[in-house]
Symmetry: C2
Subunit: 368 residues, 2 copies
Amino acid sequence: YLPSLSLQWIILQSSLLSLGAGILTYKMIPTIAEMTAQANLAGMDLNKKGDAKFHGKKIPESLGICTSVVYLVTVILFQLFQWFSFPNTVLLSEYNAALASICFMILLGFGDDVLNLRWRYKLILPLFASLPLLVAYAGGTSVVVPIPLRDYLGGVFDLGIFYRIYLLLLAIFCTNSINILAGINGLEVGQSVVIATSIIIHNLIELTLFTQQQPNSTATSPHLFSLILMIPFLFTTISLLFHNWYPSRVFVGDTFTYFSGMCFAVVAILCHFSKTLLLFFVPQILNFLYSVPQLFGIIPCPRHRVPKYNPETGKMEAIPSNLTLLNLFLMIFGPMTEKQLCIYLLIFQGFCSGVGFGIRYFVAPYFF
Amino acid sequence: YLPSLSLQWIILQSSLLSLGAGILTYKMIPTIAEMTAQANLAGMDLNKKGDAKFHGKKIPESLGICTSVVYLVTVILFQLFQWFSFPNTVLLSEYNAALASICFMILLGFGDDVLNLRWRYKLILPLFASLPLLVAYAGGTSVVVPIPLRDYLGGVFDLGIFYRIYLLLLAIFCTNSINILAGINGLEVGQSVVIATSIIIHNLIELTLFTQQQPNSTATSPHLFSLILMIPFLFTTISLLFHNWYPSRVFVGDTFTYFSGMCFAVVAILCHFSKTLLLFFVPQILNFLYSVPQLFGIIPCPRHRVPKYNPETGKMEAIPSNLTLLNLFLMIFGPMTEKQLCIYLLIFQGFCSGVGFGIRYFVAPYFF
Ligand SMILES: [Mg+2]
Ligand SMILES: [Mg+2]
């Protein structure tokens, strides 16, 4: 009932290489942090204003650049050494489209951190970064119709070009939604770790199920492909979390949030589990929906929408007019420390993934 | 005797799109220049030290980022709209490998401009950036043996893995050799324009010859592929040259030299004309060979190896201990203005391309 031996061997090698990449990232971050601080990529920690312990200390920014470049090198090296042992249903055109899209997104994120791009560039450029995925996307454009609707629409429904537009919107949503569920130490990186872990578990379940049912099925290869992209992501991101966890010694920048969102979009699109990914993105979807009035200017939107830090109590307090999940949590659970708030939000992220697995494996089979 | 109509149509569309990209680049550069200057990416023009006209004025740096991002977007858009009209011998895996390698190289160049990477990173990272090309490279690994040697080696000789190593070294050489033939206004961009023009002429000659001899030959597609990558490169680079020409209003940074070198390496590797490219790189090869004693530390190497500007005469004077082609030219032709020196070097670049064409089409046929 386990994935076949050669698959296990590929996954094991990827894990070992990724472990090495994680250690390298962990060691390199302090060095790169000095370099980003030197380049004036550094900022005050807003949630510690008025706290004597942290007074006036600037934190190096954009350390996502270290994680993401080590990640790219790892994925490229794995391609070089393992390409000929991959099942030939993993397409080189898709692998390289993934590399191109992720790399372009890192470039845009880093460009944004350095040059402070205006909103219009930020919205348009991720669109271009995801276009190579759309061209390379070799999967179908049909969706399976839920059972109750099959009398009207038939078993499968071909969305054609609209399916590709849906994938494009998914990529734009993923990159931006992680970027706006942010503002306290460890949150951007922590949520990425939870989502990546969920995706890896999903891939392993699917690989095990498929191998059990059809030992030589080609349906295993998308999940193998996803694992090869997600395992190094998880290891390099965990290393970043060690440095970014409360109290943060480094910040991650838009470089990281764009990189992270694009990695998730890439695996969901090329490995055909976009609906499952959306189940893992429930907190980001809630935060986005709750933010809509401010994002679209219906309600005034200040530059930063983080809660207020109270140096007297050492706790964060809600600003109800800032419509984010952070403030909503503080309104529901009362004031808490920055670290507690981050842990609450990450537990919620994990809880959503758990519910997502329930829906995917116990509810969805009744409808599809 | 002309390339077939559908090829002409693709080339025409690429030229029109590239013209648009060139105009966009030209208009965007002043805006992006303000942003890079704001981000402290700006420097003094060393060759105008002591000249009252330019005194104390800082020039925005790293404008290669504007050119290269517009270039990437153009190549991605062309892929999106034209993919299905390409001959199916242009491989999507190679197209996306080209995108990934060029994009990674831009990221490294911009990272270097912002963070001032150390030498060891600069040497190692381009190597990783070119690995996707090696994996995707679908051409042969054999070389045609020159006629005088065929009695000993046979007609073709398979270099196997060594051919891929040769391609890797070519990529590293291209990116670094443009970076070191630099230091006066307009030279990096000017030489790139001359080389790109030479490549485009070569591709057009080959397309015409092939279509003449074998109308349905698959041998046309590599040269079509090269044109699709080189035409937008030429247009966006010419726009940059307008701003970078003497007296420079912007500098281009390692972002541009790495980007430019990688583009040339990509087309030479994937479109199988690496020997012809080396003919167009003769000035870079001469400059590299002449620089070897300083690059490898046999002779002391100062931080900048540019000639000396004499504010009295307004001319550049050779510093014979700085072993670069610039100083060699000044030693041979005597002191001249910065603009004159740049024009002399570009004429030499064009002359070498002319000789290269002669060797490629009139001398090489006697040996192969
Ligand atoms: Mg930003
Ligand atoms: Mg530099």
